[in-house]
């Protein structure tokens, strides 16, 4: 496991540093807004599955969790037309940009990653883990056992529901059992990993990220590279928190549209109806 890349603004000129920090501030504000909007407490829009990881068991939750609702539909035995329509419509418009700009749990992981310590690069093969969790824990096991199995291990539920509820309502304390301690252990593991690796939950475990990742190649908002302006210096790749070489892997399933690579002129955020499938043609060869 190799050590992660250099600090994000090293090697950049002043103009690019200003652009980098400008975008970072904008994203921070957007993520903070996402955290507030999804936890407004007084406004209940729990009929709407908002496409971010935010537990509806949270006492403050505004929206329904799309993954929890999907498991409920499987348990209850109805085909979730409404849920899939909303989730896929969000994917077609935003791809995984909601992960990078709105998701409260992604925001918490980003904050944890800012703790100054030695950083590591997340092994890329582990990013297939999120498809495993989607297929097995969200679709197959809830179908077989008629229970929301992913919720039983979800660290978002532990953080937003599992910890606050026994504090607010003392009668819940008597229900604490082995599953509670398992969930706490998973949450502690994710917190520790988030300090060392960038967004480990999003890469290896998030079933919503797995669902939305299929749309990164053809979403209305997407990150594209202007091939003629790209010098293939790989500096953008060193800044990518997901470890993506964007000029070779446009529309990569792990791209969360954070735009840390946008400091370079060749990278742009495209807005509009897509006229091609990103990443189908490998037009550039890897240098060296």
């Amino acid at each position: 496991m190799r050590k992660s890349s250099a600090p994000p603004v090293s090697g950049l000129g002043n103009k690019r540093k200003y652009r980098y920090w400008g975008l970072e501030r904008l994203r921070f504000l957007s993520q903070l807004s996402g955290l507030v909007i999804t936890n407004l407490y007084l406004i209940h829009l729990r009929w709407l599955p908002f496409p971010v990881m935010n537990c509806y068991a949270c006492p403050l939750a505004t929206f329904a969790c799309p993954i929890g609702s999907l498991q409920y539909a499987i348990d209850a035995g109805f085909f979730p037309f409404y849920l899939l329509g909303v989730i896929f419509l969000s994917g077609l418009i935003f791809g995984r940009i909601t992960c990078g700009w709105l998701c409260p749990f992604g925001f918490i992981q980003d904050l944890l990653y800012k703790i100054p310590t030695r950083k590591f690069t997340f092994p890329r093969y582990l990013s297939y883990g999120k498809y495993f969790f989607l297929l097995i824990f969200v679709l197959l096991l809830p179908f077989l056992f008629r229970q929301p199995i992913f919720c039983k291990i979800c660290p978002v539920g532990t953080l937003e529901g599992g910890i606050p509820w026994p504090i607010i309502e003392p009668q819940f304390r008597s229900l604490i059992g082995w599953n509670y301690f398992l969930k706490i252990a998973i949450l502690v593991g994710i917190v520790v990993l988030s300090i060392l690796f960038s967004r480990p939950f999003c890469k290896a475990m998030c079933p919503l990220g797995a669902l939305l990742s299929f749309f990164n190649r053809f979403s209305f908002l997407r990150v594209e590279v202007k091939k003629e302006a790209c010098r293939r210096c790989a500096l953008c790749a060193k800044r990518c928190p997901q470890g993506i070489v964007i000029y070779e892997e446009e529309g990569h399933p792990d791209c969360i549209g954070c735009l840390k690579c946008k400091v370079f002129d060749a990278v742009e955020m495209k807005v509009g109806v897509p006229d091609k499938l990103l990443g189908l043609k490998k037009e550039v060869e890897r240098d060296g």
């Binding site: 209940h44 729990r46 009929w47 709407l48 599955p49 537990c55 509806y56 068991a57 939750a61 929206f63 329904a64 969790c65 929890g68 609702s69 409920y72 539909a73 209850a76 109805f78 979730p80 037309f81 409404y82 849920l83 899939l84 329509g85 909303v86 896929f88 419509l89 077609l92 229970q147 929301p148 919720c151 039983k152 979800c154 539920g157 532990t158 529901g161 599992g162 509820w165 026994p166 819940f172 229900l175 604490i176 059992g177 599953n179 509670y180 398992l182 969930k183 706490i184 053809f218 109806v273 897509p274 006229d275 091609k276 499938l277």
Partner: protein, 48 residues
Amino acid sequence: MKVLYRLIWLFFVVVMIFLTAFGVKRGEWKKVKLNAEIICTSCIGLGK
């Protein structure tokens, strides 16, 4: 080819809007709301 891709994308958007509307008409949003308003003990790790 570009026009074809755009048309396919628009077709998918229309399909998803149709799916959402169909689900709303079947009252699925009420089921989602009811489920989300009950405190989910599985989510918070309590109970069996």
